[in-house]
């Protein structure tokens, strides 16, 4: 990717304003398709449905330059254990 966008958007609306972030979201969804992550199905009553949310992060290289805009789709509030989200503060995106 030749150009990357520096600011990490907080909302999906902000992300849609920049082509690179839009492509990053599509990358993530394409990867889901390749990996057969999910199927679209009709919703039934009394079925618990978990919300999803986009998280936007810039991937840095060793010298601290932004090399990639990464959009990740995560599920909301299902993980009750705080440690799972807290333990890897920087590593998650740098690694």
């Amino acid at each position: 990717m030749a150009f990357v966008f520096k600011i990490e958007p907080k909302t999906v609306d902000d992300a849609f304003k920049d082509e690179n972030w839009y492509l990053a979201m599509q990358d993530e969804l394409n990867q889901f398709k390749r990996n057969e992550v999910w199927d679209l199905v009709p919703q039934h009553q009394n079925q618990q449905v978990i919300g999803t949310k986009w998280v936007f992060r810039n991937k840095l290289n060793d010298s601290g330059c932004i090399v990639k805009n990464k959009a990740r789709l995560v599920v909301k509030g299902y993980s009750k254990k705080r440690e799972l989200t807290m333990i890897k503060p920087m590593h998650l995106w740098l690694g």
Binding site: V37, D39, Q43, L60, Y78, S79
Partner: protein, 150 residues
Amino acid sequence: MARLEAIRILLAIASMLDFKLFQMDVNSAFLNRYIKEEVFVEQPPGFQDFEFSNHVYKLKKALYGLKQAPRSWYERLSQFLIKCEFHRGNVDSTLFFKKSNKDILFVQIYVDDIVFGSTNLFLCKEFSTNMQQEFEMSMMEELVRPEKFK
């Protein structure tokens, strides 16, 4: 889940025994495994299907944030390591080690990152090759501090 202390101890041992540490990570680690539970999630914000806007996605594999995700990856990885004759740490169950003659290989699991080091460089290379054959992994790199943390 790996504790930061465990990583620090590994760093200390590595500098004491004077061996290099390496790092590799799993590409989309969390997507590697099918989940058993029925989990439904909303369509991604901004990417709802026009025709089926009321539909939901039924997950076949785990997503980030799902509590099943780290666990199922860890289970699969630890099964593989134990098959490769690694021992699991009694105190920290994310630390694995394998002895071979006078040498020892340490492997620390840190979510989708793996930090490993050995008194014998050959063991590291062998481990890296084995992992790449079993999982979709990045190449092994020497563990260095990123510029911004120096």
